[in-house]
Symmetry: C2
Subunit: 142 residues, 2 copies
């Protein structure tokens, strides 16, 4: 079929990811965040009771030790707090603070706007298909 390296889906995925992460980091900079921190904040903010660090790592595809450092940074910035789970004292629930919720809202809008550049050539239906396919890549890999 005459496939060349330019058709390699692994390459295309990592290159597209690169441009999107760069654009998002640039947009998040004015909010004092980077994508990885923002992803932790966003997930915490969407879960009123908070998520355990283990759950965060599982969803994000990060090692638990990386989650610790990201949460440390967000705690230092006053955007999330660690609460010991009432049902299991090993578990630390990560919960967004009021300030964290404000920052997530503002940073989220900046990140969404920054995404419009790289996604400009994709219609809404295509974006839905892309979401679906990328989710299935994650599912198959797990």
């Amino acid at each position: 079929m005459g496939r060349t390296f330019a058709d390699d889906l692994g390459f295309l995925l990592s290159r597209a990811s690169g441009v999107v992460v760069r654009a998002t980091n640039a947009a998040l900079a004015e909010h004092g965040l980077r994508v990885r921190q923002y992803s932790v904040l966003a997930l915490a903010e969407e879960s009123p009771e908070g998520l355990s660090q283990r759950e965060l790592g599982t969803v994000l595809g990060l090692d638990p030790s990386q989650v610790v450092l990201l949460v440390d940074e967000l705690v230092a910035a006053g955007l999330v707090e660690r609460r010991t789970s009432p049902s299991d004292r090993r578990t630390r629930l990560v919960v967004a603070t009021p300030e964290g919720r404000r920052v997530r809202e503002a940073a989220g809008q900046a990140a969404d706007a920054a995404l419009e550049g790289p996604l400009a050539l994709l219609g809404e239906a295509e974006r839905d298909r892309l979401r679906d396919m990328l989710t299935r890549v994650w599912t198959a890999a797990g």
Copy 2:
């Protein structure tokens, strides 16, 4: 529309890229390569006259200074060589050696096989659509 962070295309792209890069790196390890080095080798191997480092950086989305280091490593491994362009002595053409061509072939098969895990849930037609969309993301960002 009730969008949550799990729908964020930036997040989905970077997470999918992560699993694919990890799987590919694991498969390339026995060939003494990592994905970035492999990508340079593959592009050089496909172009008999070689590509300039500038071209490599442009296609791969890498800074020229990063290309220098990757080519250094491939040269040290005997997989590519630098040739001064006859038409412009500033330009160094990166050309695969015979050994580089052999390694690219074997490593390419290993990388392709490793991709089948993460891509297992995508049919051939979907993969074509995914290639197309990811290429347009790159185009729009450039």
